[in-house]
Every structure is written in C-alpha cells, then in structure tokens.
C-alpha cells in the first residue's frame, strides 16, 4: 500500500482542487454571468444618441436622425400569414424566406435585423400591426445627418457591423452601427457612448414575467460625447469648391498647434449619400469607382515625390551640417554635371548664368545645381555614403517625413525618406552621392503625402518645431489631453538656420515663381514644385502633364496657417497650385476674397481633359495587352 501512496495522494489532491474550482465557478460566480446568451432572460437595449460633430467655430457638421428597423428572433416565430406580412413590409415571399434563413443561421436565440431603416410613414403603420406577429418587433435606431455637404473624407460614415465584428467583439451585436473611416471610425468609442441594457425574466412560453433580479444587472445608457474638430468648415468648403474639376489634395495646418484646418481631397462626395437605406447601393458605386477614386483620401494617402519644396529641407540640412552657409555660392550653367557620361547631367531652369547663386536666390529661383552641390557635400562629409545618407535621412525625418505622422485619422501612408541601408540593399555596386542625386531636388526615392508636406511647412514656419497634426480639438467640450498632440517636436535643424529659408520663401511671392499670386496686405511665404510623372503604355514610358505642388504659410512673421497642395497633372506649380493656395490663405486670414477674377478662373478650371487623356492611354494599354494575349 505504501507504494501506491503517490497515486492515491494525487487522486485526492485533484479531487479537492476540482471540487474547489466547481465551488468557485458555481457558487461564488454562481449562474450570474453571461446574461446576454440566456434563453430565460430577455435583453432589451437602449441605444444612446451618438455624439454630434462640430467644426472649430461650433458649426454643426454631423447630427442625428431617427430610423426604425424591423427585428426578428427566429426562435420565437409562430406560424403566420406570410402573404399579409410580406405586403405589410412591401417585400415578396422569396425575399422573406431569404431574410428569415439569414437570421436563422446567424443565431436562433438572438435578435437580427430583418428589414432595416423603414420610412417614417411605414413605421407609424407597422407599429400598430406588428405586435400580432410573434418574434418580430421594431427597434429604434439613430442614423446620421449631415447639414453641410462637405468633408466626407474627414467625417467618415457609420454602417452596420459586419458578421465578423458581431461575432468577435463583445460589445456589438448584429444590426448595430459602427463608425467606418474618418473621425467616425477613429473616435467610435467616444461618439458611440455605451448602450443601456434592461433584462427581463421570461417563462417557458416566452412571456415576460417581470424584471430580472429586480433590475440588479440593468445598466443605463451612457450618451455619446460630442466632438469639436479643428476643421474650419468654411475653409474646407472653399477648398473643395476650388478643387472642383481637379484631382488632388489640400492640407492646411495651424503651425502653432498642429491643428488641421482643412483636409480637402478631390474628387469627393456628399456624405449624405452614405446614410440610410440608400447607403449600400451608393457605397458600392463610390468604393468601386477606380477611375476617380472619391473614397481615396488624397490628402492623407497619396504618395508623390515632393519636388522642389524639398529643396528647402536640403538647404536647411546643409546649413545644420555646416557644409554650406549663406555666403556659399554655386555657379549654374543651365544644369549640374555629376558624371562623365553624356546623360549624367541634371538640367536647371533658374536662368541665372555666370554669377554665383546664394542660398536665398537658390530657393526662390529653385536652382537645381545649387541643391545638387549641397546634397553632395552633405553625403560626402562622412567617411562613406551609407553613413552620410543616414545623417541626411535623420535630419529629413525629424520634419515628420518618412513615417506615419501619428495623426488621429485611420488612413495614411508612411511616405519614404531613404537611408543608407535602403541603398545598400537596392544597389549591388558601389553607390555614392551622385547615384542618389535626385533626392537633392525632391525626386528620386523621396516620397511624401500632402499632410506630411503641410506639416513640414508648419515646422519651417515655426522655425524648427511642430506639433503632430490632429483633427479633434475638443472632446465633450474639453480640450484634448492626449500628449501625442500636445508635445512639441523639435527638428534636428537649429532655429537660427530658418530665417534665411523663410526670407527665400517670401521672395518666391515678391519676386520669384509665385509673384502673380500675391495678396495685398498679407506676407505669404511659399515654394512652388513641379513633379514629372509617367505611366507605362505598351512597355513605353509616356510622360504626362506634370503634377503641380505648392507649399506656403502666412503671415510671414506670425504664421497662422501652413498649407500644402497637390494638383494631379496641374502643370507648373505656379499656374494652379499657387493661386489656389493664395486664395485659401486670403479667405482664412481676411475672411473674404478681393481677387474675384482669379477665384472664378480657379473654380471653373477643369483638368478633366487631362484625366480623360490619361484614362484613354491606360485603356489603350489594356487593349494592347488584351490583343497580345489573344
């Protein structure tokens, strides 16, 4: 017997442990849990009102309206006159069977949506008739309403949770609404509030016999909180108006706080299209439009080469690294030769020949030779190009480029600022500053999104720091406290290097590329950019009209707004991007527009022909590929 002690001991031990566990489960926690899934308890939800959304001037952007859904609990249905019922709901019998099976296969015991968002007239009528049909009832829900037809990309929309979320998330059940895209998604838990639950006892005939445990487990609904955005809805609407007929994005930021004043993407859509019963056909149309891509937020998601505005960053890095100073001059001979091969030549259109160009002029006239020289000096300062590129990359990234900015909207792109390692991996030969010389003028491997460019502009305007851009100013009327948006982020370039760059940007408006976009009484600083773009047609590279870029901030001495704008195929930066920017700045700072003729021209200007041309080329390409594969 002594030898069997171990097994006997273990049997006793396990017995005690298991019975204690049963005690814990059944007596301490005893049958009081998981009230949602019990057949003897009926749960009724009280949906709180979703929070409203306002712009920075307390103008209402998103409100609520009531909507009524017909719900079904398959288990409780009794034989019914289908024909009468169908005519009541205005559906046919096939549809009825389909809807019933869908609900039945989801969960027999739980409510599912049978028919959603009834018209108001139908509701009044149905409310009387429906109690006759066991297992059906009407659930009141709240849907959105947009007083201003604008900012769809920022606001996002709400729609029913999909089955995956309903199954895997503890909060949501089928038919409930959840924020998709934009602020509605990002701040879902704030806007939503918490639904209240009332539990009722039920007998085996499914009749409610009273409140469950005297309402001990009932919860009250917690209303959703209102949001105040940093957006200025007038500026936003004006930006959208100016962008009509064009594709591109505008991002405006308040440099001192990082608040996003406007976030325009074009083309966009009316947010009211995604409300109510018409949501689903409309959303299919909008999301499947692969030509205009109205649901693609170009301000956040489009990655382009930044072009000339990036030269300012290279100039600042040059100053910080000490490889140039304001007296350093480069003589430009219509371009910059960086190798012996005949095509190793970067053309320049600054038009100043025979005398040395200094930094200020180089920026305002956008001289390629100057920045190619600067870039080489930065990289070659270090013992090898890998380390040199790393140093350069670190500076550039300190302006918020090359990675997600961390703003409070759910979509975005990283952009790209290459480092030494990137080129080590890409090239299997010895590479150097000349291999990557395109970075000097913001082409090549450098890529940014418009919001990154706007943030970069804000950092320049602030002389060396920025706050992470954000879209929400107040939650429930209390200023946001998230340290992500209240922490000052310094660039690695010291403040004393900025004034010369700012002077140069000012010169762009007084004497340089943007002089026709000056606004009387406002000192604007800006920088034009033009980015080449190509598509591949039948294996051939075809050049399309350049993208038009512009960055600006104003006023010069006390910056209140920093803007980056990108117009696809808009041509030279000064022709479309600069005037639009100047109009926006005028509107924001002065409240009205004096240069009506420019305004009119910009609104009416349509680039649709350009886009049609591109589309034609692309379709041709598909056709040729199709014929070839035949």
């Amino acid at each position: 017997m002594k030898r069997s002690f171990l097994l006997i001991f273990l049997i006793t031990l396990v017995g005690i442990v298991y019975i204690s566990r049963l005690f814990q489960l059944q007596i301490i926690r005893g049958g009081e849990q998981d009230l949602t899934h019990s057949a003897t308890i009926k749960v009724e939800y009280d949906y709180p009102e979703r929070g409203y959304i306002y712009d920075r001037n307390r103008k209402l952007l998103v409100a609520n309206q009531l909507s009524y859904d017909v719900m079904i609990i398959p288990k409780e249905i009794e034989p019914l006159d289908t024909l009468e019922f169908c005519s009541l709901l205005k559906i046919d019998k096939e549809d009825f069977i389909k809807r019933f099976h869908k609900a039945d296969s989801y969960a027999r015991w739980l409510p599912s949506v049978f028919l959603k968002q009834l018209a108001k007239e139908d509701y009044a009528y149905l409310q009387e008739k429906l109690p006759k049909y066991k297992g059906f009832y009407i659930q009141k829900r709240i849907i959105r309403n947009y007083p201003i037809k604008s900012a769809a990309n920022i606001l996002g929309f709400i729609s029913e949770v999909n089955e995956y979320v309903a199954k895997n998330n503890d909060y949501y059940e089928q038919g409930e609404l959840i924020g998709k895209l934009g602020v509605e998604k990002q701040y879902e838990s704030v806007l939503r509030g918490i639904k209240g639950k009332k539990r009722f006892k039920r007998n085996n005939l499914n009749e409610i016999t009273g409140s469950y445990k005297n309402g001990k487990y009932d919860t009250l609904a917690v209303p959703g909180k209102d949001l105040t955005l940093t957006i200025d809805s007038e500026l936003q609407q004006y930006g959208e108006l100016l962008m009509s007929g064009k594709r591109g994005g505008i991002v405006a930021i308040e440099p001192k706080t990082g608040e996003i004043l406007a976030l325009v993407t074009a083309p966009s859509y009316d947010p009211n299209l995604l409300v109510g019963r018409k949501r689903s056909p409309n959303s299919i149309k909008l999301f499947n439009d692969s030509i205009n891509m109205p649901t693609f937020d170009r301000g956040l998601q489009a990655m382009y080469s930044p072009g000339s505005p990036f030269k300012i960053i290279n100039g600042l890095i040059g100053l910080q690294e000490g490889v140039i100073d304001k007296n350093f001059g480069v003589t430009c001979y219509h371009g910059y030769r960086y190798g012996k091969r005949p095509n190793a030549f970067m053309k320049c259109h600054c038009g100043i020949v025979g005398r040395p160009i200094h930094l200020k002029t180089a920026i305002s006239k956008s001289c390629n030779s100057y920045f190619a020289t600067t870039y080489r000096r930065i990289i070659d300062k270090y013992e090898n190009p890998t380390i040199g590129t790393d140093a350069w990359s670190k500076h550039a990234k300190s302006f918020g480029l090359g990675n997600y900015l961390g703003y409070d909207l759910p979509s975005g792109q990283k952009g790209r600022i290459p480092d030494g390692n990137f080129y080590d991996r890409s090239y299997d030969f010895r590479w150097g500053a000349t291999t990557t010389i395109s970075n000097a003028i913001g082409q090549g491997e450098v890529e940014t999104t418009p919001i990154q460019l706007a943030n970069m502009t804000a950092a320049i305007a602030n002389k060396g720091y920025y706050y992470t851009p954000h879209i929400v100013k107040r939650i429930d009327n209390k200023p946001i406290t998230d340290t992500t948006y209240t922490t000052r982020r310094n660039t690695t370039v010291s403040p004393e290097h900025f004034p010369i760059a700012i002077e140069a940007m000012y010169e762009t408006f007084t004497r340089g590329t943007a002089k026709y976009s000056q606004v009387k009484g406002i000192d604007i600083c800006g920088k034009t950019g033009t980015v080449e773009n190509f598509i591949r047609v039948d294996g051939q590279k075809v050049q399309l009209t350049d993208h038009s870029i512009f960055i600006a901030f104003a006023p010069k001495d006390d910056p209140k707004i920093a803007i980056a704008i990108f117009v696809e195929n808009g041509g030279f930066g000064a022709t479309i991007a600069a005037p639009i920017t100047s109009l926006l700045i005028e509107k924001y700072l002065n409240g009205s527009i004096t240069r009506k003729h420019i305004e009119e021209r910009m609104i009416n200007l349509s680039l649709q022909k350009e886009y049609d041309k591109k589309q034609l080329l692309l379709t041709q390409n598909i056709d040729t590929i199709a014929t070839r594969t035949k």
Binding site: M1, R3, S4, L6, L7, I8, L10, I11, T12, V14, G15, V17, Y18, I19, R21, L22, F23, L25, Q26, I27, R29, G30, G31, Q33, D34, H37, S38, A39, T40, R108, W109, K167, N168, N169, D170
Partner: protein, 425 residues
C-alpha cells in the same frame, strides 16, 4: 468450490459494478439532455445520439458477459497476442481508416465506426502487466526499463500518427504503474519539471526563463563549492551536462512552440495562460463550457432545464464537453458527486489491486486506475477551464460506442482478474 469457479459471477466486486452502472446511467441521462430538444424527446428514437448511445450501452452487456466468460488465466496467457493484434489494428487504421476532423482514427464498417485506440489501452495494460509480472523481471535494470518503455511507446507512436494527441497523452499514465513497481520517482519528477518549464517558457519567453534557470544552477554549484572544495572536481560532468541540457531544453521549447506547434495548439495554451482573451473566437469552447458549468449554481437548473445545453451553446457537448451538461443541469451538487464517484472508483480499484497476490493482476489494476485517472483529470480539467483543450472522452459519460466499450473492457477485465484472485496461488 468447484461450482463457484464455474459461475462467472462468483467473486465479482459488486461495488465496482454498481459504480459502473451509476456512472453509465447518469452519463446517458446527460447525453439525452445534451442531444435532444423539445422536438425530439422520444427515448427509443435510434436515429438520435441518445438513442444510439442506448444501443451502445445495451451492447456492452454481451461484451461484459463475454469478458467475464473467459478464465482470468486467459488474459495472462494471451496478453501478448492481444497486444500485437491491437498494434496491427492501430497500424491498419492509418491505411484503411476514415478521416474525421483531420484525424484518421476510425474504422468504418458500413456506417458503424470503431476507434482502435480506445481498445489499445486495455491491451497495452495487459502486455505491460505480462512483461513485468515475470519472476525474472527487475525494473532496476535499464534493459528491462527499456522493454517496458517500448511496450508503452509503440501504440502511442501509431496513435500520434493519426494524429490524436489527446489519446497519446493517456499513455503517460503508465508511469504511475512503473513507479508503483519500483521505477524511481526521478522520471516523474523529470516529467513534472519539464511541464512546469514548458508553461513558464511559453508564458515568459525563452530568454528570461533560460537566464533564471542558469542562474539557479550557478548558485547551486557555488553553494556546492562553498560546502565542499572538491565538489566541482567530482561533479564536473554532471554540472556541464545540466547546463547544456537546460539550455537545449528551454531553447527547444521556445523553438517548438513558435515553429512546430500549429496555431490552434498554441492558441489553446495562450488562452489558458490568459495571454489572449477571446470569448467568441478561438476561446469560444472553453468560455462557453465554463459559463455553462457556472450557470448551474448550487443545485443546477434541473434535468432537461439547462437553457444553455438546450440552446446548443457548447460545441461537442455530447462528447468531450458532456461534463458541462452535468454542471448546468445538476449544479455543484451533481458535478461534485460525479467527481466523488470517480474518486471512489479509483480508490476501490487501487485497493483491490493491492490485495492481489499475483503481480499480473496488481499491475493491470494499477494501469486501469492510472488510465481512468488521466482521462478524468484531462477531460474535467478542460471543461472547468483549468487545462487546455484536449479532445479525450470522459469515461462512461462521453457519447460514443468505442470509448464506452473501451472503458468497459478495461474495467471488466480487471473485475474478472479480481474475481479470480483467491484461486491464484
């Protein structure tokens, strides 16, 4: 005397038979609750699960009589033959078997499935008993230990190929038997330490645990040196191998866990250890069964009154999760009673084994107790959320003919051997 020997019911331990009847009967009631609903309550409806289980229970009566019919010497003499047959069946199922739920564990005879692994346990126990009851057998010798290990390992190997990891686990139960017969506890201790290390490594990551283990060994070594200056000279090999082995083992676990185990197996551990909280996805079964047990409260909701059982909230409730029905409908009272009944069963088997003068009967009885014990720990532990999800049946409760007959075979061979013990000298 002679007459008694010819009566197959002579000397039978009626307490075990009574426990058997109680457990099987109560088990069937719970299967009835779990697999019927308001529409189908007809007891003799043989198209339903509970109806089929009734047939299985009915068929176990001839099985029992058949078992009792043989002389106890038969089992001793034919142990090797039965063992070989079960090995052949296990190998054969890999070729001719039917794949259900990703495992090839079933023979299919015109709609009737048979699971050879359920019977192999009993025959392995017989073979082990036969080997170790030999007068020449001395478990102190490594050669003899190896023989015993091979007998245990072979069927486990074939079952692992099916793959049915739950059933493989059961073969570890035989270590209790070996221990009872004199195998040093070090093996079990080693096993326990391995399991503890495994859990800690999964939970805290290989690096940290390795660091802690190596520091502990170093401290122990330093203490040894402090106590006895020549400690290191005498134990250098042991210490080095301890270091090496620990390192390899911990890193091996880390590797196995991350690269060899399937995602579903990893998930089961992660849920149990609380690394993932997931009530509706992968942790659904565990969560639902725990909730179902807990909803029973003190006295349960009553027979056929469990709304979670009736609402089919727990997947596989009639087989591996049958104990959750007990928990819901019979509450703390009923589910503790089941545990107590099982404990009495185990104690009784051990007690009777120890009274055997014949080594064969004792070893076999001990094997039976150990196997039942393992099944009960793993299955109930899983249902009440103390162990990860491992699909093995609860003896006499879970739905299925093979498992019921397998356990019946296991128990009644023992009852047969036990009935004859007084003539064994």
């Amino acid at each position: 005397m002679r007459q008694e020997r010819n009566n197959i019911f002579a000397g039978i331990d009626w307490l075990l038979v009574l426990l058997y009847i109680l457990l099987v009967g109560f088990g069937w009631m719970n299967i009835y609750a779990a697999s019927s609903n308001e529409g189908t309550r007809e007891v003799f409806d043989f198209s339903t699960r509970y109806g089929k289980q009734l047939i299985f229970i009915g068929l176990s009566i001839p099985v029992i009589i058949f078992i009792l019919f043989f002389n106890s010497k038969f089992y001793e003499q034919f142990a090797s033959v039965l063992y070989v047959i079960s090995l052949v069946l296990l190998a054969g199922v890999l070729v001719f078997g039917k794949k259900i739920n990703g495992a090839t564990s079933w023979y299919n005879f015109g709609g009737i499935g048979l699971q050879p692994s359920e019977f192999a346990k009993a025959f392995t126990a017989l073979a082990l008993a036969k080997l170790m009851s030999d007068r020449q057998y001395n478990l102190k010798l490594v050669k003899n230990q190896t023989k015993a290990f091979i007998i245990i390992f072979l069927p486990a190997f074939f079952i692992a190929l099916q793959p049915d990891m739950g059933s493989v686990l059961i073969y570890f139960a035989f270590f209790f038997v070996l221990n009872r017969e004199g195998l040093t506890l070090a093996y079990i201790l080693f096993g326990v330490i391995s399991i503890v290390l495994f859990i800690l490594t999964v939970y805290f990551g290989a690096k940290l645990i390795l660091l802690i283990c190596l520091s502990l060994i170093s401290i122990a070594t330093l203490y040894g040196i402090y106590k006895n200056k020549r400690f290191i000279r005498f134990n250098i090999l042991k210490i080095i191998s301890l270091y090496l082995f620990t390192t390899l083992f911990v890193l091996g676990i880390g590797y196995t866990y991350n690269n060899v185990l399937g995602q579903h197996q990893k998930d089961r551990f992660d849920i149990l250890l609380g690394k993932i909280k997931d009530n509706k996805g992968i942790g659904y079964n565990s969560y639902q069964s725990e909730m179902t047990v807990s909803s029973g409260g003190f006295s349960g909701k009553g027979f056929l009154q469990g709304d979670r059982t009736q609402g089919n909230f727990v997947p596989e409730q009639h087989t591996d999760y049958i104990y959750s029905t007990v928990g819901e409908e019979w509450g703390f009272v009923g589910s503790s009673l089941v545990i107590i009944l099982f404990m009495i069963l185990l104690y009784r088997i051990i007690y009777l084994s120890e009274t055997h003068t014949n080594k064969f009967g004792r070893i076999y009885g001990y094997s039976v107790a150990s196997i039942f014990f393992f099944h009960i720990i793993v299955n109930i532990g899983m249902v009440i959320g103390l162990l990860p999800t491992v699909g093995i049946p609860l003896p006499f409760f879970s739905y299925g003919g093979s498992s019921l007959w397998g356990f019946t075979l296991l128990l009644f061979i023992f009852i047969r051997l036990d009935a004859h013990k007084k003539y064994d000298w």
